[in-house]
Symmetry: C2
Subunit: 269 residues, 2 copies
């Protein structure tokens, strides 16, 4: 088995440094992150046919995409709706690698992953789309924007009164109020909305709210991808908790910890 | 555009009910979940070449897979390591659709998604693997186990002292202590470990702990997939917060809410 054999045997730093373009880039990207070749010198990209980034992208219409995502929510729910509204169009306009991607396999992103209330599926779907189109950050400097657009989405989602998008033909004719989650998590986002709106999880109003949130995320995602395609994307993502606070996390520490926020063990100076 | 045109035009219930196998199954699955055909009757599966489930699967060795995941963590980090340790082997043993799947595109799952501390990437990676191999729950009764294996993973992850797996040749020779997260979230899981172990996020020990957690998850995932392949998988997933409590969420309510747990608006009886 080539993949597992290579992992076991490792590859010398010399062979990597003298190797051709892509692999060197991948390793350089990984090294930049880890601060040295170290273990990275043993690895290489898997290199399947869809692992050449960025994927071909043509600019899409944000409003049309949002309408699609809204409709798709009622078929495949939040995360998958963000994916299918964009990859579904690209499958037709571009073809591969979107044709071979299992768009409909991501229904489980619903309810913060199988109902567990973790990351909102719309955020997860947006990260999948931006990182698969532009590429993973280890694939080199040209691919960093995939990670940045995904991270910026979670920041925008947390700070924005959602939903921002109203469909032309809403399933629910009554007004859907907006709430700001201060969190990328499904449980916090939908919980704050339910608390203010007074509607149950199983209500038609809550479902339509989440369909509009997925559509709002799809809209912003296409705006950002179009800007990236034009070479004009500038990341507004500023949240780097690992560097700043020494632990992965979100901004609303007090909501869970109150005034008793633990100090994580710090790296030795 | 065929996809968008069909969405706009909708399909009559009659055409769905008289249609052939796959489409009817998809609709029936979705209808069972939503409690009626309703909007679902307007939808159909996208139907790309990789959207025929389940995908071919051959049984893998759990220990060997865990060793791979451990090594892969140092290349692509937690979530992508779970995916690549399993799909990388299947790409060689089976071929398509694993060859066309962009295995290396999921680095962003690291740090609870781009460092935001949401769902642990190992859990997210496991859900991607189980749902893509077995299929999304809307694809019919044969595909429900993908969702179940993913949900069971998050329950096991929350309730188990992790890591359970020790590699044959660990990068860190010192002992790595185990902690129980009571949560599928990266922030909670790594935070509790750092608190008890006393090591910083940037430490070699913390990195090795997370590499072993990814390996532990990959090990259990292969055990479950092998049982499913043999027709012997029985789900131990019991967590259905939407039905039980009326909101998506995890079990550790008190950790964030203290004794002041809000009651979500309930559905009308």
């Amino acid at each position: 088995m080539e993949f597992t054999k290579k992992l076991d045997e490792g590859m010398s730093r010399r062979s990597l440094l003298t190797g051709a373009g892509k692999l060197a880039l991948v390793t350089a990207g990984a090294a930049a992150v880890s601060g040295g070749l170290g273990f990275m010198s043993q690895a290489e990209a898997l290199g399947g046919p869809t692992e050449k980034w960025p994927w071909p992208y043509v600019k899409l219409d944000p409003d049309f995409t949002a309408e699609l995502a809204y409709k798709e929510w009622y078929r495949v729910f939040c995360g998958n709706a963000v994916i299918s509204s964009i990859f579904g169009q690209l499958r037709e306009k571009v073809g591969e690698p979107y044709k071979s991607f299992p768009i409909d396999g991501f229904v489980f992103l619903e309810g913060g992953m199988a109902g567990w209330g973790t990351v909102c599926g719309s955020n997860a779907g947006a990260n999948i789309v931006s990182n698969l189109i532009i590429g993973p950050r280890i694939a080199g400097p040209d691919c960093e924007n995939g990670h940045q657009i995904g991270s910026e989405m979670m920041q925008w989602y947390s700070e924005t009164a959602l939903p921002t998008f109203t469909p032309k033909e809403p399933k629910q004719k009554t007004a859907i109020i907006q709430t700001t989650s201060n969190s990328p998590l499904c449980h916090v986002s939908v919980g704050k909305w339910m608390d203010k709106a007074g509607f149950a999880l199983a209500s038609a109003e809550r479902k339509d709210r989440c369909a509009r949130v997925a559509a709002s995320v799809a809209h912003k995602l296409v705006v950002d991808l179009n800007a990236w395609k034009d070479g004009k994307y500038e990341s507004k993502a500023t949240w780097t908790p690992g560097k700043t606070f020494g632990i992965t996390g979100q901004q609303n520490c007090n909501e869970c910890h109150g005034s008793n926020i633990p100090t994580p063990p710090q790296a030795k100076k």
